[in-house]
Subunit: 523 residues, 2 copies
């Protein structure tokens, strides 16, 4: 069984990242000093529960030991890991806790649980790694007999490997590291490393259209998926007859991004790659974010994208949240780019040389491997650091979007202005590009500000302002964090009333009584 | 205005390809001799028409000169260009003719026509190039007040070019050559060259998930599309905020492949590339189809795919339908592969050398540029040659599918056996692979047999046998020809009852009275 995350913090408590001295200095300087805001309130009062008949019904499906009602287990299935989620958890607020956590052992038990939920009108919340940062696990309780967290942790098998087609079929409960370990036994890798990698699940990657730090080389998760099995209240949907086809609309792309609202994914068949023999990550300095972005665009449009490519803007480069040891250390002016190549030695050497030639020609400065190593070392640390900052009176959160290249600068300016306008000029707004396409890129913002009286309201206002700016700029409300409940109003504006109508029609058809993750995704 | 195709034959009559002597010899040898089956029956009787009030209503929307009811215009909008379509056209059968052809001038007129069709319950058949080979233009007449062919030929503008994002927005009525000519003025190309290129339209490419001969280098058409505008009876759907996103299911992929049943595409925004400075196509010989296929797989999985890659099996290599001048000339044993590289000279040279090294290492024999030039010369000729063969007593038709690499040989064997079983051992079955992915490939079959008493029934039986074999093998019923009406029963088996239910739900939501291309696609 996978280790569980801390109920009020990110990740494994043993891996917590203490606030480095440099960061303490920054907090003193920028946010009015260190204040102890680390107190946690224990949840008070009784949590609601299902009646015994319903619990017995669930036990009959999955076995008594897999129907869990204790507060600790339920607390760990309450909301996800956005900053508002953490603030609510720290305040002892378990109002969104499920009534019960059930752990099916196979797809047949998932089918039986879906049928049971329909029969008894129970809201069913598919649960993978619990890493949602957009409220994807906050199902609507009103109108249902109760809320059941459907924890897929026991669906953790590597079902099949096809080394000829280079595909693998995985169960949804596998966490990132476990999936990679099982594939590594066959010399294979998914190459999918989002920041949530250590805790997020295969089912979650698919349900949210996840994108990893090496998306330039391995592809977004939705591009890796060639097949899916999905249990819906209307039956089982099995998709994926070929790598690509012209047999009507691609229904796989309707399940990818459906966030548990249309069905429960019980298997995912993905494209895999051979484990890379070599991984090398170089640092490059650019005189400006615009110059570095243009270089990314040139590489993408020349068919020269490396495996990993990310570019921090001037502020993020100076602060360098990705490397806690150097936070606040400032450093040279300009912007840091990390360029990584993975694969066979000869191929990596050739691609590295070709990319270096282009970057040098465009005005980049090769910083060698040290900045790349620092990034690699800290690549999963940022969420831990957020907890340490939340402990000392700082409000920290991230948001992200994507757009076409010609709109990149305008979107960047608009979101920065919206955040500064809401949080005040004292707020720090950092940004990086970490997902690059021929036609555009993502923008990922990290925001830090002094915590006010009501940090939840403080962030809600800033997030709304940024989201309004994103939609006004014609960009997407989310490149890889999904819609959940938090993004719904802006998602509705993004796809328009006809798009919303289509989603509702699919939802009503597959889940006519609406038991699957009610309130999530569908506007 | 684009030149129109011949009503009973493929393409431009001036470009017809006479049957080469070698092919005549083959027909003598294999199909019992040359017989004159070129006779065409003129359509007899009156074609049905709309009443004057409806015609006046249409005229009020698009102008009198764009409402056409003459038999010639309607004949050219009757069915598509499959062999059964041609046989019916040759027999003078215009039972599927539309009552009227209307040519809107812009998206607003399309909206008005859709509203008019809903109001008067007229079946509306979006018409692009008329090149469907799967019955995509054969709408159901029963239950409707009439059938209107919605010819999009006047929506033929290049609306916008974004040279920074490398995207272009095109109207649906643009034919392939016109789109390329407009883009070439900006130094850009789509790189999308299906065999139907000379006549097919941008809207059709999108509506059918088309895939071109250079798909390995430029991508399938659905991979090129970043945005769409679609007029539905429920309103206008505008999609595409970013190259990729996690904002729910990718609704673009629901429109791509919808074949005019969910809405009328009025603009398509696509990724474009710079016009290649160099195009070079080499021939390679392989000892067997299996050896050549394995080499394709190696290239795809090594990230070394060229721009064009196609491999003919032993029979197709011997017959070489792609090059009419050498049909029946036989030649060396083995299988011919065409490997093409397009781009800047240095990049082409480097990729060509890298690919050649791999292919040589795997046992391929470099045949130089002559076979590649022959392929390039004849790449759009096959449909013309089909007409010439239909004229001399031969039944010729194609079908295609795709699967994962580990199923390639089994699928190939099964489809060949099914076709031979239905048409008899005298039939020739040729096959090539022309679309290659990391996880699998397409298989494209060309069938030639002596025409029997009832060639329509003869082909229907063979096609059904092959389709059954495809679905039994778990492959897709179509890699790039779409579903139309011909593939519907097998499409339903491929996506299963839940998949069919989803499509029906979307259809019922967007087109509640079912006026858009009724009878097509949706099982």
């Amino acid at each position: 069984m996978t280790s569980e995350m801390h109920p009020q913090r990110w990740g494994d408590p043993a891996a917590a990242v203490a606030l480095p001295d440099t960061a303490r200095g920054l907090v003193e300087l920028a946010f009015g000093g260190i204040r102890d805001t680390s107190a946690v309130v224990a949840p008070a009062g009784e949590l609601p529960s299902l009646d015994d008949a319903l619990l017995d019904g669930l036990r009959a499906v999955v076995g008594t030991e897999h129907v869990l009602t204790d507060t600790a287990t339920r607390a760990l299935r309450t909301r996800g890991k956005s900053t508002p989620d953490l603030l609510r958890a720290r305040a002892g607020d378990l109002t969104d806790a499920p009534d019960v956590v059930v752990r099916p052992g196979d797809a047949a038990e998932v089918e039986a649980l879906v049928a049971f939920a329909v029969e008894h009108h129970l809201a069913l919340v598919p649960f993978g790694g619990g890493t949602s940062v957009t409220g994807g696990l906050v199902a609507r309780r009103e109108g249902f007999a109760g809320v059941v967290s459907l924890d897929l942790v026991r669906l953790d098998r590597l079902v099949a490997v096809d080394p000829v087609s280079m595909t693998a079929t995985l169960e949804p409960g596998l966490r990132g590291p476990a999936a990679e370990a099982l594939l590594a036994e066959h010399g294979l890798t998914l190459g999918h490393y989002p920041q949530s990698f250590e805790h997020a699940s295969i089912g979650g990657f698919a349900a949210t259209r996840s994108s990893g730090q090496a998306s330039a080389g391995y592809g977004r998760f939705d591009a890796l998926v060639v097949g899916l099995t999905v249990v819906t209240p209307s039956g089982v949907l099995t998709l994926g007859s070929a790598p690509a086809d012209a047999a009507g609309p691609d229904l796989r792309q309707l399940v990818l991004g459906s966030e548990g609202t249309l069905g429960v994914i019980t298997s995912v068949t993905v494209r895999v790659r051979r484990l890379p023999a070599v991984k090398v990550y170089d640092g490059w300095r650019w005189p400006s974010f615009a110059a570095g972005s243009d270089a990314m665009r040139t590489l993408a449009q020349a068919g020269l994208l490396p495996t990993v490519i990310r570019l921090s803007d001037e502020t993020e480069t100076a602060i360098n949240l990705a490397d806690p040891d150097s936070i606040g250390a400032g450093g040279d002016a300009g912007c840091l780019m990390v360029v990584g190549h993975e694969g066979e030695p000869a191929s990596v050497a050739a691609r590295r040389a070709a990319v270096a030639a282009v970057l040098t020609g465009l005005g980049g400065t090769d910083l060698g491997e040290e900045p790349g190593r620092a990034w690699e070392h800290g690549r999963f640390h940022a969420p831990y650091l957020r907890d340490s900052l939340l402990d000392v009176g700082v409000l920290v959160e991230t948001l992200e979007t994507a757009t076409f290249w010609s709109h990149r600068q305008g979107l960047y300016d608009a979101v920065k202005a919206a955040l500064a306008g809401s949080l005040g000029e004292g707020a720090l707004v950092l940004c990086h590009v970490s997902h690059v396409y021929e036609t555009g890129c993502s923008l990922y913002f990290t925001v830090a500000a002094r915590q006010g009286e009501d940090p939840l309201a403080q962030w809600a206002a800033a997030k709304a302002a940024a989201s309004d700016a994103i939609i006004a700029a014609g960009a997407t409300i989310t490149h890889h964090h999904a819609v959940g409940t938090d993004h719904k109003p802006w998602f509705a504006r993004e796809i328009g009333p006809v798009g919303v109508q289509v989603l509702r029609a699919v939802k009503d058809s597959l889940d006519p009584t609406g038991v699957l993750n009610p309130g999530v995704l569908i506007p």
